[in-house]
Structures are given as C-alpha cells and as structure tokens.
C-alpha cells in the first residue's frame, strides 16, 4: 500500500522529527496553534527546502503526497498549506495569466506572499453564483473598486485572513459601467487579487475591516477571518483574467460565450481541492482504522467460563463495526488513487471528456469518502471504549479536524447532486444516441439489462461462488444504479410538468442523492475489483479478494430492501448474502492485523499509545506518568 512518493514524505517526517519544538502539543491555545502552524510551514519550505507550490501546479500526485504527510502531523498544517498553495496560489496561476504568474509565483512559493481565497460569504457558501461582493470598474482611474454591499456579503471563514495573509483572491461580481438606462452591467462572479495587509508593516490596508472568526470545532491552527471591503481600489491588472478580461476602456472580452460557461470554467480549475480532500480523508480513515483495530486486538474483555478473556475483535459485534470499515478503507485507497491519477492526466492532457469525468468523480468521491470517514471516526472512538476517549489516542483531534471535510470544497449534499446531474446527462445522451463518457460507460450495458425484469433464476442463486463472483457483485451495484436512474428520470419528467424544474428536483432530492451514492459505490467497486485482479502475488490477491467481497456484500446487504423490493434477490438469497457478509467479516478479522500493517503507517504517525505495535499498555501508563 506504499505510495510512489514515500521519499518526499520521509523528508517531511525527518524534518519535523528533527524539530521537536514544532510538534503540536495536546493542549495549545488557538493563538499559539496558529503561530506554530505558521512556523511549521515556514520550516518545511525555508529550512527543509520542500517547495510544494511547483508540484501543486506541475505534479499534483507529488503535491498530494506532501499534503498527506503534513496532515498526518497536524491536519491544520495540511489545510493551511492547501490554502496557501492550492487555493490562493492555485487561483492566481489557474485563473490568472502570465503577468500574474510572473509577479506572484515566487512570493507564494517562498511564503512571503501569504494569501487567502476569499470566496465564501456570510450568506453564501454553496451558491457561489449568489455572491454579493462587487468589483466595479472605474474607467477614470483604471481600477476596480471592491465593496461589501451588506453584512451578508462579508467574506467569512477565509483561511489565513485573521493573522497571516497579505493578499486575497476575492470573488466578486464584476460590474461594468454601460451607456444604457441601467448604467451598469453585472458580468457575474470573477476573481480579483486584493492586497489586504501591508507587505512591510503587516498593517491591515485602508478600507478593509478584518475580524477573527474565532474558535472552530477543529483546525484551530488555521486563522480564519471575516473581511469587509469599503471602496477598496485595486489596479485593473488584478483581475484574474484567464477566462474574462476588461480592457482599458471598460469593454469585456472572453473566449467563453456566457456567464455560466465562464463560471463553470472558473470553478473547474478548483477541482484539485476535492481530489486532495478525498485522498486525505482516506488517509485519515487508515489512521483511525489502524488505531481501532490494533487496540481491539490488544483489548480483552469477558470470555468463555474459566478461560482467558477474549480479544474484543473476536466478538461478532466488534467485527461488524470494524471489518466492513476496514474493507471500505481498502476500497477508498484504490478509488482515490485512481482519481489522483486521472486528475494528473487531466492536468496534462486537458482532454474534455476527462475534465467532465474528473469533475463528477471528484465531487462524488469527496462527498462519499468524507461522509463515510466522518461516521467511522465516531465508530472507532466508540469501539475503543473509555481509552478511545483519551486525547492522546487521537480520535478527538482526527474527528474535530476532519469534520469540516464534509462541508468545505463543496457541501457533500450539493456535490452528490452534481453527480446526479451528470448521470442524468449520461442517461439523456444514451437515449438520444450521444457518446457516453469514460467512467460510467457501464450504464450502456446495464441500462439494457435493466429494461428487462430481473432474472428469476439468478435471483435464486445463493452459492458462495456466485455471491463472491465480481460479475454478480458488479451487476448488482449497476442494476441498482440503473434502476434508480431510470426511475428518477421518469419521476422528474412527471413532476416537472406541475412543479417546474426546480420543484421537481426538490421533490426527488432524496432519490437523487441515493442514486449518486449508489453510483459512487459502484465506481469504487470497479476499481477494487481491478486492483484485486492485477495483484501479482497469489496469496495477497486472495486476501484482497476477501476484503473486496466484504465491501461488495456489505453494501448490498445494507440496501437489501431495494433489492428485495424489485425481486432482484429472492428471500433466501438475501439471507445468504447476510450470512456470507458476517462470515467474511469473521474471515477478514483473521488477517486484520496484516491488513492494517500493510498500510505501513509507522508508530510516529499513528501516535496513539493504545495502538503502538509493542507494549501498548505500558506506553499508555508511562504516558500518564507511571
């Protein structure tokens, strides 16, 4: 399970290990935590010579590997790094043009130009097109004037704003003067570079009011602030003008024809954040699952009369809590690896089909993986009982820091709808004879299968060979997705006649979200099945196959009502699926130690005393002073 970029990750660990004063302590005030995070970042960049910015642009896989490594030290540091390089830096490079790169690259790279990504407002997060901050062009001075028209438009949650930022990429409605009755024209949301603090004195610049958003549930090493602008003037050059520009005389030009296309192109450049979060979230799950499983092997409680106590992982209930989770961790590993590779390819080829696929897949995997991990962190804590509640055993900080992964870079409920939109587009293309994009062309086959009723013979097959056949599993996943897709398309058409498009969408929203999740689960399964099949070692392949089967059957069982309802499986087959998934949990338990060892996470990353690979209890008692 080792990544390809272990070398640069080791460099991160070696540097931070050599600087014990940079280790984040269990108790630290918000103020100190922010300063420590800044020192960690400065140390990595300026002392250790790790310069993530160029990888962020040119070699995203390597960049994500660095983010993963620093995240295992302190997730705040990973997020602060992401704000600086992906969001602030990425917006300058990807939304700007050559002049911006020349002017800002070095300062961003060496941290002299600490910056912010000021998109979210108090009243608008998900609905980015509803942002209200305005940037009005003043043709007399050749400047834009940035204004916060009301308190709802205060930029909120802006990382690096409360303390360290010198600049911000500010998303604002571009307002141009016109000669018609209205007098102005709203060109939609664009991005502008706004200096917010003096480069030398670090004083907040005139017209800008910044307040501290204060304590968060986690990530308190990141200094989020709120910004209000009053007639802040910036040169015209500060418009990040890759997708739309304003000439000296106030004329708008763009290679893209509509506001919506420009908006889509702008947001499309920000997809890397989602790729990174999906991948980081899977890494967090690896750490949590490792702690919970190692401790559950160590911990003994109760047992048969007059016999030694049993490891709690030998209880069926505990296997039920942790083994499907371990299987999902493996599944997410392969799926996010695939996503990262696709994203890297896309950054090189700019192939249009690939862009669409990466967009939908990153939205779906980010939503699915972060939601699953968030739930799992709570299950892991609970599975470790009282000792899981000790701060040193990590679940608290992991959960508190990770929690917001479900919300930032796109609220999960909103992202899943984007997946559903994409599937419906594919569905329409299929029935209008258009091409199907790369990822989901399984729909082509399974939609056909769907149009007939489930096969009453295979619905009764319940042998282990059949249930463990990837053909059956994939068919089950795809059948469900196809069926959900077809039925929601019919419902949408029906309701839109009376409720309109928006009303129909809302009436079918739960259905659409189920569809999106179902689809993502099946994409994950495809990647897992491929990973099993391409595993070179026969014994490892057999182990992986066990894990993959558990992932597949556990998911099918979780939604057994749907399968039963359409008679895709007969009652006895449903029971057989349940029985086999319990048995697979039991089988996976017997190799659970090896499966978590294979993540190859050293104790210095795991850190929890209860999960140390030797003398865990002794390390734990020593930790409190015995």
């Amino acid at each position: 399970m080792k990544g390809k970029y272990r070398e640069i990750q080791e460099k991160v660990f070696d540097y931070l290990n050599s600087r014990p004063e940079l280790v984040t302590p269990v108790e630290i005030s918000m103020k100190e935590h922010r300063e420590l995070c800044m020192r960690q970042l400065l140390g990595l960049v300026r002392e250790a010579g790790i310069r993530p910015f160029r990888y962020c642009i040119e070699d995203p896989q390597k960049y994500f590997a660095i983010i993963e490594a620093v995240g295992s030290v302190d997730i705040s540091l990973a997020i602060k790094m992401g704000v600086q390089f992906s969001l602030w830096g990425g917006s300058v490079i990807n939304l700007g043009t050559k002049k911006h790169k020349e002017k800002y690259f070095d300062g961003i790279d060496n941290l002299e130009y600490m910056g912010c990504f000021a998109m979210t407002e108090l009243h608008h997060g998900s609905n980015v097109q509803g942002l209200q901050t305005v940037a009005t062009f003043d043709p007399i001075t050749d400047e834009f004037i940035i204004d916060t028209p009301n308190d709802g438009a205060i930029k909120w949650w802006i990382g690096n704003a409360a303390v360290h930022g010198k600049f911000a990429t500010v998303f604002s409605r571009l307002i141009l003067p016109t000669h018609d009755k209205e007098g102005i024209s709203d060109m939609g949301v664009h991005a502008f570079i706004v200096p917010i603090r003096d480069l030398k004195t670090h004083q907040i610049l005139p017209g800008i009011e910044i307040h501290d958003c204060g304590h968060k549930i986690g990530l308190n090493g990141v200094d989020n602030g709120a910004l209000r602008f009053s007639s802040v003037r910036i040169p015209r050059d500060n418009l990040l003008n890759r997708f739309g520009d304003v000439s000296r005389d106030g004329k708008y030009t763009s290679s893209l024809p509509t506001i919506n296309k420009r908006f889509a192109a702008t947001l499309g450049e920000l997809v890397g954040g989602r790729v990174s979060l999906a991948s980081s979230s899977a890494s967090v799950l690896k750490v949590a699952a490792t702690i919970a499983i190692r401790y559950s092997l160590l911990r003994q409680q109760f047992g048969p009369p007059k016999q030694p106590e049993l490891s709690i992982l030998d209880y069926q209930s505990h296997q039920h809590k942790l083994m499907p989770m371990l299987a999902s961790t493996y599944a997410f590993h392969f799926a996010t690896l695939h996503l990262v590779e696709m994203y890297s390819q896309m950054k090189k080829s700019h192939d249009e089909l690939l862009v669409g696929d990466v967009h939908a897949l990153s939205a779906g995997l980010k939503a699915y993986v972060t939601s699953y991990t968030a739930k799992s962190l709570s299950i892991c804590r609970e599975a470790c009982g009282g000792h899981g509640y000790a701060a040193v055993n990590q679940f608290g900080s992991l959960r508190n820091d990770h929690d917001i992964f479900q919300t930032f870079e796109g609220d999960n409920t909103v992202l899943l709808q984007q997946v559903a939109v994409d599937l419906l587009k594919q569905y329409q293309e299929k029935f209008q004879g258009g091409t199907l994009a790369v990822t989901w062309n399984y729909l082509r086959e399974s939609m056909k299968a769907y149009l007939s009723q489930p096969n009453p013979v295979t619905a009764r097959w319940e042998g282990e060979d059949h249930l463990r056949d990837p053909k059956f599993q994939l068919d089950a996943f795809r059948y469900r997705t196809s069926r959900l897709l077809h039925s929601v398309a019919v419902r949408l058409r029906k309701h839109s006649k009376t409720l309109g498009g928006f009303g129909a969408w809302n009436r079918c929203l739960n259905h659409l979200l189920t569809l999106a999740e179902s689809h993502i689960e099946s994409v994950i399964l495809v990647k897992f099945v491929e990973a099993v099949q391409s595993c070179p070692d026969a014994s490892n392949r057999a182990s992986l196959k066990l894990v993959c089967d558990l992932y597949a059957l556990d998911r099918i069982w979780n939604d057994i009502g749907t399968y039963r309802n359409v008679d895709y499986v007969a009652p006895n087959k449903a029971k057989a699926i349940h029985k086999l998934s319990e048995y697979l949990s039991f089988q996976v338990r017997s190799i659970a130690k090896e499966l978590v060892d294979a993540f190859d996470l050293p104790d210095r990353i795991i850190r929890a005393p209860i999960a140390m690979q030797s003398e865990a209890y002794a390390q734990y008692t020593q930790r409190v002073g015995f």
Copy 2:
C-alpha cells in the same frame, strides 16, 4: 414540554447568570477548566444553597432536573456533580449502612468530602467481575489492605481523583484468610471507602500513587485520575457492608446467598446513573435539534429561477436529515420521562418486578438514546454547514462532551446485550408458563401472532389511514421484535450444542443487538402513542400525532428489508410507507418552528448565535467583532 421541576432549574440559571465569572469560556486550559468546574459546584451548593445530594437519595426526579440544568451550562459540571453525588455519594449511601450515612452524608452534601468512584481499571471496564484490585482482611489489626496487584489493575478514569478527591469508593476483590490449604478465599468484588488525600493538607496519602489521566476528547472540566495502591490500610468499618459484611474475627456474612447475587445487588444500586444519562442525552438532543432547525429555517441558499432563495429546511434532503431526528427527540422525551418516573417509583416501592424492568429499560434506553444522539450531533453540525463548525455554535462541545455517554455507566454494546438477555428470559418464561414482567407483556400477544404467517391481506393495505393507525405501527414493531426473538432463541439453542453457551451467544451477537434495539424502539413507540392519546388539546394532539407517525414510519422504512423478507409488507406497501414518511417529514417541517419552540429552551441555554430567536445573523457578526 416543560418539566415539573422548572423552579429549581431556574434557581440554577439565576445563580449562574448572576456570576458571569463562572461561565465557561470557549477557550480554557484543562487545569483552569477543572478549577472553574469546582468553583461552579461550590457556588451552587454553598452560595445558591442548592443541595442536590438529598434529592439524589430521596427525590431522584428533582435531582435529574438539577443535573439537566447544570448540564445545559457545562456538561463537565453535570458529570462532576454526578461523580460527587450519584457515584461517590450514592455508593456510600446505597452500598453502605447507617454508620456510613452518619459519618459521610454531611461532608458529601457540603462538598468537604469530595470523592471518587473507583471501579474501572486499566484492563477492566465492562467486565466488572474481572477487576483485580484486592482488599485483604488482616484479622490482627482489624483492617483491610488495599493493593493493586499489577499495572492492569490500576484504577483508571476515576473522576475527581486527579485533583479534588479526598476519598474514593474502591471496588476490590474481598480476600479473607482461611484455614484450608489455599489460605485465602476470594469473596468477589466489594466496595470500600478509601481516604486518598489528607483532609487538611490535601496531600496524597501514603501507599497511594495518583496520576492525571490527562486531556480527554471532552469533559475536560472533570479531573480524571489513575490510582495505584500499595498496602493501603483502612479500618474494617470502611467496607460498604449493606450486601456483605466481615466480622471482627474475619467471618463473612450476607443476606444474599451467592457471589453473583451480591454482585447483582451491588450493581443494581448504580442503575440511577443510566437513568440520568438517558434523560440528559435526550436533553442534549433537544438543544442540538433546536440549533440545527432554527438555523435551517434562517439559512437560505439557491431557489427557483428568478425567485428568492429557499430556506434550506425546505429542501427534501434537509427535511430527511432533521425531521425524523426531531420526531425521535419527542419520542425520547416521553420515553425517558417514563423511565425517570419508573425509577422514582422503584426507589420508593422496591417492588421486585419494577426493579427488573427499570434495570432492563434503563440499560436499553441509555444505549439507544445516547447512540442516536451521538450520531445526530454530527448530522446537526453537518446540516449547518460552515457556520455549524464555529465553536460558539455549540455542536463541537456538545459532541465532544456527550461522546462518552455511549461508554460510561455501561458500554452501549454491553447494555444492549443485557436487554437481549432479559427478553430471552421473558421468552423462556412465556414458553414455560411463567409470569411476564410489566414492560414487555406485549410479547404475550404478539408472540402468538408471530407463530402464524403474516396476514397476506393486511400486508397489502397501503392507505394512509391504515399506515397512520397506531395499531398497525405497534403491530409492525412488535412483530419484528417477536420474530427476532423467536429466531434468535432457535439459533442459540442450535449453536449452543456445538459452540457452547458463550460461543453460541457470540455467533448470534449481531442478531441479539438488533433484537434489543428493535425492542427498545417499540417501547419508545408505546410511550409516544400514549402521550399522543393523552394530549388534552386537539390541535396539539394532531401535531403530536404527525410527529409520532413520522417516528414510527421512518423506523419501519429503515428496516424495510426485514419486513419485506418475511412478506409482512408487500412491495407496494413498502413503497407507500416510504412515500408517506417523506410526506410526513414535509408536514412536520411546516410546524418545525413550533415544535422546537415547545421545548421551551431559552436563548441562554441554546447560546449558539446562529440559532437566536431574533437577529441571529446580526448576533453572529457581532460575536466576531463587527
């Protein structure tokens, strides 16, 4: 929804409002938090004259009301209070005899005798009978000698131990010298009062080693410590001797015949903690649901083209997240109220059947309610997006403090097994003609119904009147429980032949846990249906009925696979249940504001700026400094 004890709760709030220096700030070090909590407790008892200890013994409903009130100020304070009065104080009074009450009551009551409840050890939490600390009687000096035989027996997580405790009730194996070959006899786990710090100097006493368990995920206002004993001598009188005593010459006497009966009697006295936690957890859920729902009404995002944005609670997906949760909150309110009343009655009557019922019901409700609330806190945070992540908006501290409710006073997975044990006992009694206890005598009827196949006619009824008929709903819940009970009994019998009792239990563990949850859900429904029926106001009754129907149908839909698999419902009925529960969520949404207002929680308890009843956004922006 107002409780009967609002007066004493108001007294708590008024006192704490009058002492702003006692309010727990958002950021506070662990050390300061512990001292603040102690000052809060001292202030309430000595300044405000609130003396919970006597209520804890004589009027538990009033005691729980005080715990609820202080918990809404700081959950750490509620837990510290619980450690002092329920656990330390309760063990002295309920496990000791008159001499102990005379000697300790006043000191516990006025907080001069701060104390601990030292049961859990590093290696043993759930398996209390496996504790290893020993108390050996020394007939020469008439003392017990307390010893920690190995590091696994270090008392761990002991509240009040790290800083404030003067005494501890220490659970130890009572060892008596004998004249046979063994030389000693192990009488099982008993409770002993052990002074741990000098009453005047507060120095730790000789032979006792105390270390600080350190930071926890939450509840850092409670000072948990770890204790190791080396030949600590205490007078014989310090044995809490209600259920077993040792005479001057080292003879053991007890009114109860066996170690197991004495152990059960001892633990039986501690059931109040579970009652309190179930009730407190429901209160936490009320606060969280109120914040999430008020904010979801305020928050607008997206909407139909060219129309104002929509409140996010108008989205079907958001209704799906929050409305069944609101229904559960109401359900838990009535169920825990019932439990508290039963417990109060039990404390007065000591009726044996009632003791058994309270034991099983408190185990089941504590487990079910705390697990549900823990999950819901995460859902609420996520439903409030980025603003839900601000520490001032409460979800972080609520979740972190509440998290351990799932573990302490009995791990939820262990408690549910106690419910299953109890159900199996009832099942055996039924089939052996014994009496059935009060709570579950619905089994009598439904087991009969179960023995026949589901009615193929009613399995097809799908009209709203039928689905909203409590008779159908109760029958569905009970049918499921009865079926699970019968089938697990058959499986246990079968497996025990080859695997033995313990092995068979473990093989059926998931099944047993599902059975226990199913049973608890149906007990909750019974109480909800009763509350609806006894609601005097017709309009309120209709509203409550909506909420109750949503609770019932949502639960049935969540387990639709089970119902479909036995043809209890036909496919179209399953669809109708799904459709109706979505529609009920939509209906409940239309009275959601009134439903949370009815909890009657003032803004000073809710505290989250985003959930204030007027000008929420303005209060939020002011909070960060605008």
